[in-house]
């Protein structure tokens, strides 16, 4: 809650004004019954018609003032909670983009999404309602109790005696209720995941005629949600009837105790009647308080989830930069680097290579041999467990993220396209001119863009689902090249291109990106065979390193691959 409070704090002055206005409005409302009783008790018996009119009109004025202040206060409350939510959600998203890759893995993407959406929404609801009801309910409650105190202190004590019992019930129910709601939420997450999977796999499901099976699966998840939500609601619903019962029992005892006191001549029956009407106000206020309690606990649970992300320590800190020539060769250097995701089994071990400006490194090796991990390390998504990675002789850790990431143009496997125009997907938010985008698209062999009716303005669907595999890769390649990066990283980024296009691409790359240092991961020997250096990976270790010709002589694995792929020619 501390983190959430820090968002509320700057709003405290304006909130105090809002609460004060709300306070005024509520007090004005509390005045009305008193004015009514004055009319009935004082003016009517005296027959003062003009005063009846005067006070009647005053009542209307009070009511109008109460209306005005409540409307103003509510508007202010809405505006305040809007501002807080706006900032909170913004900061959360900012923080999410700054999480280190291992933190991202830890939170998992779906959970980050639900924190950004559902949880911020819950917190918003909480702040909003707290401001509106948070002052009204206590005033009605305390005001009601104070007035009854003046009327009859002993009878008030009977009422007040029920309060601890009520508190126990509210505490018990919300304590267990929150646990049950958490379980229900988990079941709902499961259901949503199921639905999401079915939607992405609709082709396979239909092809394998598994619709009924999927329906059953969904049904199980659906039932689970129903069962858990029901359990939670059944518990939460205890509050209202029990509170009513307790208060009404108190009321009955007020009548009995009152009867004794009237009998002793200490009090009047009229007082008991007045007492009972204030009772209703107190009861309603209590209901509001209990509702506030539920809302608070729900909001607080979400607040905690948000705070977990917001307070995640900054990882990947920048080390001190050494003064050295930032154009020095070797451009990229891996010095005996080992790394493991799980810290149990090494994913890559003892990777060692260096590249000069403008050189090309090809990486080839079986599925799962750690090729992509090398790129993740170079981008400093993770820090190596052993060894160092240097760019221009400077340790990677000494670069600020801005400095470092400016250098790269990257295409990952399964890279990310989003719902916007093709041009924007290539530009990717960078200040890049249309000419450069077109130039990069031409090199990326993305001629298909010009054939589209709207050209670069044509829309890409979410995850690029309206493009074919090859078209996606071309757009991604264009994105990587559009910034004229210092270093180009391509992770199996031409697997969906036919060989001819691939060859054209390589030719264009060689001509126009001669000074760019390139690392190319590929399954195809032809894609990397002319690289200055080729790294052959197997189970995370280097089993070969050298030029094509050297490897053809010395590396058995490489020979094998080459033979299968190019056998027909040689």
């Amino acid at each position: 809650m501390k983190t959430i409070l820090s968002y509320i704090r700057p709003k405290v002055p304006i909130m105090s004004v809002q609460l004060f206005i709300k306070f005024l409005g509520t007090v004005l409302e509390l005045l009305l019954p008193w004015m009514l009783s004055t009319i009935l008790d004082d003016f009517v018996p005296a027959g003062e018609t003009s005063k009846i009119y005067l006070w009647g009109i005053m009542m209307i004025v009070c009511a109008a003032l109460a209306l005005a202040s409540n409307v103003i206060a509510n508007k202010m409350a809405t505006s305040i909670s809007k501002d807080i939510t706006l900032r909170l959600r913004q900061d959360l998203f900012t923080k999410v983009t700054q999480l280190s890759a291992s933190q991202e893995d830890f939170f998992t993407t779906p959970s980050l999404i639900s924190r950004l959406t559902t949880d911020t929404y819950n917190v918003h609801q909480m702040i909003d309602r707290m401001q509106r009801l948070g002052i009204r309910a206590p005033i009605l409650l305390l005001g009601g109790i104070t007035i009854t105190m003046f009327l009859e202190p002993v009878l008030t004590m009977v009422l007040v005696a029920t309060l601890p019992l009520l508190a126990c019930v509210v505490w018990f129910v919300s304590h267990y209720g929150i646990q049950l709601y958490t379980q229900a939420q988990a079941a709902l997450d499961q259901l949503i995941r199921k639905a999401q999977e079915s939607m992405t796999g609709i082709r396979v499901i239909q092809a394998l005629s598994k619709v009924d099976y999927e329906r059953n699966q969904f049904d199980t998840a659906n039932r689970q949600v129903v069962v858990r939500e029901r359990r939670a609601s059944l518990l939460m619903n205890i509050t209202n009837p029990v509170m009513n019962l307790l208060l009404n029992t108190g009321l009955t005892f007020v009548v009995i105790v009152g009867a004794f006191r009237v009998n002793q001549g200490i009090t009047e029956p009229g007082t008991i009647i007045a007492f009972l009407s204030y009772f209703t106000i107190i009861l309603n206020a209590l209901m509001m308080v209990s509702r506030l309690f539920v809302m608070y606990s729900k909001g607080a649970a979400s607040g905690r989830r948000i705070a977990q992300v917001l307070t995640a320590p900054a990882e990947m800190l920048q080390e001190k930069q050494l003064a050295c020539d930032l154009t020095a060769n070797p451009h990229i250097e891996f010095d005996h680097v080992s790394f493991s995701y799980t810290k149990v089994q090494e994913t890559v071990s003892d990777i060692h290579f260096s590249l000069n400006q403008g050189e090309t490194l090809g990486i080839i090796g079986p599925t799962g041999s750690g090729k992509s991990t090398i790129l993740s390390l170079l981008l400093r998504f993770y820090d190596p467990d052993q060894g160092t990675i240097k760019i221009n002789g400077q340790n990677l850790k000494a670069y600020s993220p801005d400095q470092l990431h400016q250098k790269f143009g990257v295409v990952f496997q399964n890279d990310f396209l989003y719902n916007d125009s093709i041009g924007e997907n290539i530009r990717f938010g960078r200040p890049i001119s249309q000419e450069e985008i077109e130039f990069a698209s031409r090199i990326a062999q993305a001629g298909f863009i010009w054939e589209r009716e709207d050209g670069f303005a044509s829309e890409v669907a979410s995850r690029g689902s309206n493009l074919s595999g090859g078209q996606k890769q071309r757009v991604l390649l264009a994105r990587a090249m559009a910034g004229h990066p210092e270093i180009l990283l391509l992770d199996d980024s031409s697997s969906a291109l036919d060989y001819k296009t691939d060859a054209d691409l390589r030719r264009a790359l060689g001509t126009h990106f001669a000074h760019t240092t390139k690392i190319i991961i590929s399954q195809r020997v032809s894609s990397i065979q002319n690289a200055d250096k080729i790294l052959v990976l197997e189970n995370g270790s280097m089993v070969g390193y050298g030029t094509h010709d050297q490897l053809m002589d010395s590396c058995k694995s490489y020979q094998e691959i080459a033979q299968i792929q190019m056998g027909a020619v040689e």
Binding site: A63, T78, L86, I273, T360, N419, G429, G469, D532
Partner: protein, 605 residues
């Protein structure tokens, strides 16, 4: 209840969620359909609600009798009567509490049933929608219907319905009481009630579009957050955090702003209704005093009238809240129903036959097709495959290779032309039996959250563990699976995001190996599998292809050299067709493509 389906379906598959609003009566009618399944629960709820409320309304009356027995002055109290009535008060309150709890439990039951049915219907409908729908719609938006919108309806059903009953009963009873006390004073309500009705109607008309915009903007924000969170690594690698944060902030601002606008307006309601009540209170005091002075009413009557008018106005205030919640529930229901009104895959033709004992002769004749009407993807495309033949389709990206597969499986239907299997036009074959004829491995692999075993055994019922292991061995993924902590029982989380694309492809190949469909589709099935592994699984692949009509799309031309027929697709039509040797001899586009494979164009000048 025999209503024609799709009342809301105003013209074609236009974008859901952005169509003009639908009258609330139509939405309410459809909601009622869901409620009517629970008719008896509903009746029971009404009975419970009436009795619980009557019991609690009797409370004040009983306490009144008890107080009447308390005569002012020492020693005058009639304790017997006081105890008699207080005893009943306790009993009544206890019964009322029990009934209230029963009622709310009943409503929980009822609303969960409705929500369960609604979620099931939405999901069932999703499974019946054509692939085109999913290709063109953001998943996040649809998911928010399943979670957020249905939840809103749920909240409204379980709370608001009960509240409504309670309110109606309280209003009716207090109205009767007041009428019996003083018909003259009722004149005041003739003034204030129309006022509140007018206000409420004005309000609901104004607030619904605001709520709709709010849902829309919130949906857009959620979709954006979902999309971008999926691309964090790329955003980081390009150092574009600040740019995307900025874009997020625009959507965030819009969502907050539309929420503010809706809330602002909604937050006026409570105070306004309270004002109307206070107004009537002031008028009652004035008019009541005057009536008292003319002697036509007693002071006690004025005070009970005031008490009942409070009871009377309380629920009316509550009503305003209910209406504002109902408004958002209606907006949510509208979205749900719009999704339910999305046209489903057209039904199988009435004369559709079930394909059985398929030999595997496939023919496409003069097929034309485009995903949207302006851009044709296939133009007068022809293809003929004899049973057991391997047909390879090659061609540049976007030439329509995958489209052919989409048409074969009837994920889409051709605009013109005819596709037949064993001479049966597939337009007259049940989709289910048609799709059963194929097993397929696609470029975009799909795995679900479940164990590896479940994922592999997905296509075939009653498959033994032994068979699954055999398939995994043949697909050369067995060793990898065994190296995992739980072997075949390892859970794949998040659609298998933790394993590489190549491994995913091997898993889907193993899945296809377990099927025994007469035809096989391989769309870039091994594009991310390394060469050694590909060669190792080749034997298994050949066995898989044996005696089956196969459609193979591949860029590595070495994998398709021994195809019986290679079709070169360019600009949506078959440009060349023949065996590898024939095509090489032609010196056409294919031979160019083939040679490019060994073209060692370089990247380092």
């Amino acid at each position: 209840m025999a209503k024609p389906k799709g009342i809301l379906n105003t013209g074609g598959p236009s974008r859901a969620f952005e169509r003009p609003s639908v009258p609330s009566t139509v939405i309410l009618k459809r909601l009622w359909k869901y409620l009517s399944h629970e008719k008896w629960l509903l009746v029971l709820a009404i009975v419970l609600s009436v009795s619980a409320n009557l019991l609690s309304l009797a409370g004040p009356k009983l306490s009144g009798y008890a107080i009447d027995a308390i005569k002012p002055g020492p020693g005058l109290v009639d304790f017997d009567t006081v105890f008699y009535y207080t005893k009943y008060m306790l009993i009544f309150y206890l019964c009322s509490a029990v009934l209230t709890y029963m009622l709310s439990s009943l409503m929980v039951q009822l609303s969960r049933n409705v929500i369960y049915r609604m979620r099931r219907d939405v999901y069932d409908h999703l499974t019946k929608l054509p692939v085109r729908f999913f290709d063109s719609r953001a998943t996040g938006d649809i998911l928010s219907v399943l979670s957020y919108d249905i939840d809103t309806i749920n909240a409204s059903l379980s709370n608001d319905l009960v509240q409504m009953f309670t309110s109606i009963i309280t209003v009716t009873v207090s109205f009767g009481m007041m009428l019996s006390i003083s018909p003259q004073l009722m004149v005041i309500f003739a003034f204030t009630i129309p006022f509140s009705i007018l206000f409420t109607r004005y309000r609901s008309r104004k607030v619904r579009p605001l709520y709709r915009t709010r849902s829309q903007k919130l949906g857009a924000l959620n979709a954006y957050a979902e999309e971008m969170t999926g691309g964090l690594k790329t955003i980081k690698a390009y150092n574009q955090e600040s740019e995307f944060i900025h874009r997020f902030s625009e959507r965030n601002f819009e969502a907050c702003e539309s929420n503010y606008r809706a809330d602002c307006f909604a937050s006026m309601t409570g105070p306004t209704v309270i004002f109307i009540n206070n107004l009537s209170l002031a008028l009652i005091s004035m008019l009541g005093s005057l009536l008292y002075m003319t002697g036509s009413i007693t002071l006690g009557n004025v005070s009970s009238f005031v008490l009942y008018s409070r009871k009377f106005s309380g629920p009316i205030n509550e009503f305003a809240n209910i209406i504002s919640e109902l408004q958002s529930a209606l907006a949510a229901a509208e979205r749900v129903f719009r999704l339910l009104d999305e046209p489903t895959e057209s039904a199988d033709a009435p004369d559709a036959i079930t394909l059985d004992q398929v030999k595997g002769a496939v023919a496409l004749k003069d097929v034309c097709f485009g995903y949207d009407n302006q851009v044709p993807v296939l133009r007068h495309f022809n293809l003929e495959a004899k049973p057991g033949q391997i047909v390879a389709i090659v061609g540049p990206t976007g030439a329509g290779k995958t489209t052919v597969i989409n048409l074969l499986m009837r994920f889409y239907d051709p605009d013109s032309g005819c596709i037949s299997i064993d001479g049966h036009d597939i337009a007259h074959v049940t989709r289910k039996s048609l799709r059963k004829c194929f097993s397929m491995v696609l470029q975009d692999t799909w795995l679900f959250s479940g164990t590896i075993f479940e994922n592999l055994a997905y296509g075939k019922e009653n498959v033994t563990r032994e068979e699954v292991i055999q398939a995994a061995k043949a697909a050369k993924i067995h060793r990898y699976i065994q190296s995992l902590p739980n072997g075949y029982d390892t859970m794949l989380l998040d659609g298998g995001s933790s394993i590489s694309k190549g491994q995913k492809q091997l898993l889907t190949i193993a899945r296809a190996m377990l099927l025994d469909a007469p035809m096989l589709i391989l769309d870039e099935a091994t594009s991310n599998v390394d060469t050694q592994t590909e060669r190792q699984i080749q034997e298994a692949m050949l066995k898989l292809m044996e005696n089956r009509t196969c459609f193979v799309i591949a860029h590595r031309l070495s994998t398709i050299q021994n195809a019986d027929q290679i079709i070169v697709l360019r600009n949506g039509a078959a440009a060349e067709c023949g065996t590898h040797d024939q095509l090489m001899a032609r010196q056409g586009y294919y031979s160019q493509l083939y040679r490019a494979q060994f073209d060692t164009a370089d990247c380092d000048h």
